[in-house]
């Protein structure tokens, strides 16, 4: 049995020459939770739009469940579910009516749809609100309704485009719990885009990190972090003008001393931060250097992104977010 999603050199250039996705090749296995990560504007939404037949690729090929997305879009649409970034429900209709409409557009008879919708409403804790108009729903309820709309036809593959955008931490945790259950109970393949690296780290079996329309690296979160090969210790001298590079580099176990952060802290890669911290304190004490702080970081996907791109992920994401507020809409890159 082939992969759930395969694509080769997939790319999209919009009229005017804006290259949203340069060239992406990837495979997603059946039953896998696959994270597609990158800052806002990296090309995640364009990628998901091509795979879900909403956008035509400029070049390359893509197959979903073995079906070509360009040649047979209707067949692809029958097999996939899609949860959009923002609410796509009709405010004038009730939650139940919205689900009935989506089921009907998938060709499901009202008789067959009724128990499925009831089950989803119960599962997503929307039973009490089911017959209220969606216009009166909270943000969390709308998100849960979006999931129900995405899976009302029981697809084998679910695409989630920034599904937790705008949710509070509790809402995000509940959302991901349900996604985990979907995978474990139904074996559903899940392809998600997000710019929250922490949740992709916890959830995904594998992640691809995308930046400026290109995949930089694909692997499991653990393997990506282990590829950095070290813990990170931030050493902040009280006197920012004091040069500690040679002192830190001489301490046993140090792999590298990286340039100072804007705050003046040295970024030291070490094999084991537990043994390095006492050593750096002793070395600084002996050299008469007063320290403002020493902190340790286990490798994270943020660190992976920094290593791959040379830029801080969060700063990049924030900057893009402020520069292009429309980027998180369904029409965003």
């Amino acid at each position: 049995m082939g992969a759930a999603v395969t694509c080769e050199n997939l790319g999209k250039t919009f009229p005017g020459g804006v290259e949203a996705v340069t060239s992406v090749s990837l495979d997603v296995a059946h039953g896998e939770i696959y994270g597609f990560l990158g800052p806002n504007g990296a090309g995640k939404t364009t990628m998901i739009s091509m795979l879900t037949t909403l956008l035509r690729p400029t070049h390359g090929t893509a197959e979903v469940e073995g079906i070509d997305v360009v040649r047979e879009p209707e067949r692809v649409r029958r097999r996939i579910g899609l949860v959009f970034q923002r609410s796509t429900s009709d405010d004038a209709l009730t939650g139940r009516e919205n689900l009935e409409i989506i089921a009907g557009l998938h060709g499901i008879s009202p008789r067959a749809a009724r128990p499925r919708i009831r089950e989803l409403l119960e599962r997503l804790d929307l039973v009490e609100a089911a017959d209220r108009r969606v216009g009166a729903y909270s943000g969390g309820m709308r998100r849960r309704l979006e999931i129900a709309a995405g899976i009302v036809h029981a697809p084998s593959l679910l695409f989630l485009d920034e599904p937790t955008l705008g949710l509070d931490p509790q809402g995000r945790a509940g959302f991901w719990q349900y996604i985990r259950e979907l995978r474990s109970e139904n074996g559903m393949t899940i392809f998600l885009t997000t710019h929250y690296l922490d949740e992709a780290d916890q959830l995904s079996d594998r992640v691809s990190i995308i930046d400026h329309g290109r995949v930089l690296r694909t692997d499991s979160p653990v393997a990506l972090k282990e590829s950095l090969g070290s813990d990170i210790v931030l050493v902040q001298p009280s006197d920012p003008s004091r040069d500690l590079a040679s002192l830190l580099g001489a301490i046993p176990g140090v792999a590298s001393v990286e340039p100072r952060s804007p705050e003046g802290a040295y970024r030291v890669r070490v094999a084991r931060s537990e043994s390095f911290v006492p050593a750096v304190v002793r070395a600084c004490d002996a050299a008469g250097v007063e320290l403002a702080g020493v902190s340790t970081r286990k490798p994270s996907l943020d660190e992976v992104f920094l290593t791959l791109t040379g830029r801080e992920y969060r700063e990049e994401s924030e900057a893009n977010h402020h520069a292009a507020p429309g980027a998180s809409s369904p029409g965003g890159r």
Binding site: P73, T88, D90, L93, I101, G104, H106
Partner: protein, 277 residues
């Protein structure tokens, strides 16, 4: 295809009944036109009875016993036009609110999405017109009000032709304005185009003014206007007059041709708009 079509039809109906003022306006507008406009506006009264001008106007009414009767039938076409003007706004708002992408992500045939909206919107444009016709007939029995006076010998076939003309008119206008909803992306552009078309369609028809009183070039335009064709079918049947160049069946064929062209155009434009880019 059938299930998806019915689903779109149901959605349109649910949205419609959720806005009572929208429903109410469909009842009130025909009455307002007939009471405020129709009662005050009588071309024949502009001339003293028996004068040449008055006789000329009466002759131009082609068998209608008075101007209100002539005007009331024209109002049926006008009400259809105004009721269908906003058919495309639902599509426009769906695009802006993100509902459109959700619908296009489903495997529903694109023609079913268009046909479902067209059917409901055409229905909701047609029945206020029948309501207007009913009110105008009822006014005839109300003291102090001018009413629509028709010949008692209107046949069942004639009634069928009137219904067919009205339904075809509703379908073609709805298809036209639905197409604008698919093609355009801004509210301003949509309302600009509908404003641009609304009055020219009315004034290049014989809905309000007898065709015989128009300059020759306008008479030619008016003859091909579907609103004129629909009113011709209704007037010929209701007033049992032979003053028209063609029998009602010919005008019905003309209306059918218009409807086929505009529905085909709507199907094409909606499919093009829904196609992946």
């Amino acid at each position: 295809m059938y299930r998806e079509f019915v689903t779109v039809l149901r959605r349109e109906a649910l949205k419609w009944v959720r806005v009572p003022i929208w429903v109410a306006s469909y009842f009130v507008v025909p009455i307002l036109y007939l009471v405020l406009f129709g009662q005050a506006f009588d071309l024949a009264r502009l001339f003293p009875a028996g004068e040449d001008g008055s006789l000329y106007v009466r002759a131009a009414l082609l068998g209608a016993p008075n101007y209100f009767s002539y005007f009331a039938v024209g109002m049926v076409a006008f009400v259809t036009l105004t009721a269908s003007l906003y058919s495309g706004t639902g599509i426009l708002f769906d695009k802006q609110l993100g509902i459109h992408p959700r619908m296009t992500a489903t495997p529903a045939p694109r023609s079913a999405l268009f046909a479902g909206s067209l059917t409901f919107r055409a229905f909701s444009a047609a029945w206020p017109a029948f309501l207007a016709l009913g009110f105008a007939l009822a006014f005839e029995g109300v003291p102090g009000l001018a009413g629509l006076s028709v010949r008692s010998s209107v046949s069942a076939l004639g009634v069928g032709e009137i219904v067919a003309a009205e339904v075809l008119l509703a379908i073609m206008f709805t298809a036209l304005f639905l197409s604008f909803g698919y093609v355009l992306n801004s509210n301003e552009a949509y309302f600009g185009i509908t404003s641009l078309l609304n009055l020219p369609i009315l004034f290049t028809s014989n809905a309000m003014f007898p065709q015989g009183t128009m300059p020759p070039w306008l008479q030619t335009v008016t003859a091909y206007n579907p609103a004129s064709m629909a009113t011709n079918v209704m007037r010929e049947n209701l007033f049992q007059t032979s003053g028209y160049p063609y029998p009602p069946e010919v005008y019905l064929l003309g209306l059918l041709a218009w409807a086929v062209v505009l529905v085909a155009l709507g199907l094409y434009l909606s499919a093009r708009s829904l196609r992946v880019q």
